[in-house]
Symmetry: C2
Subunit: 118 residues, 2 copies
């Protein structure tokens, strides 16, 4: 067991580990989120929208998400090049599940604030 995340050690039998592995990575959610809002985006649109991301990271992360079946990449054979990214159906289903987690997070945050005020 040398991998950083334990869930990589049980990818085959644990669906939660599998899911978390897919969304794990600094830029994955930002990309997923941007595509959820704007539906279809070109490479440089994504880059402008996601604050601080480099070409390196955008290319790498979008490839990874594509390989997982989360996002779709359509390349048009034109000059200048045009590539459009969007969420797949699986990607859209993911959003639904994440909103549950976001809800829980929101409750946690407001509890924090209450206890801060003592």
């Amino acid at each position: 067991m040398n991998s950083k995340k334990v869930y990589k050690s049980c990818l085959d039998n644990c669906p939660l580990a599998y899911a978390l592995n897919i969304i794990d990575g600094k830029w994955r959610l930002p990309i997923i989120w941007a595509l959820n809002k704007n539906k279809i985006m070109r490479y440089n649109e994504l880059k402008r929208d996601i604050d601080g991301i480099t070409n390196m990271m955008l290319t790498q992360t979008s490839k990874e998400l594509e390989s997982y079946g989360i996002i779709d990449r359509k390349q048009y054979m034109e000059i200048p090049p045009r590539v459009e990214y969007s969420l797949t159906e699986s990607g859209q289903d993911l959003i639904v599940a994440l909103k549950e987690l976001a809800n829980w997070g929101k409750n946690m945050q407001s509890n924090d604030k209450l206890s801060d005020m003592g």
Copy 2:
């Protein structure tokens, strides 16, 4: 922006980032999961249950989860020492949200298998 996870940069305003930050870490889910199954566990019970965890990591991670309000730590002033860990209510709510994500993961996994078979 120097932190590894981008969600650390928006902890204040993004509930999803906040939630993911809490479950991020190699041993957090294993601990949460073990406590969800067994309800109340002592230190060495956890250690035996979670394959490969060291004292270092168990102590550190349980402290972190306690500080987030996910788990409860009860120390009994006895000799030999006894410490019991359990999930808080928030921790139990977290399980519910994670099950949604696990469900999504399960669908993803079975889609993978189908496409493997061609």
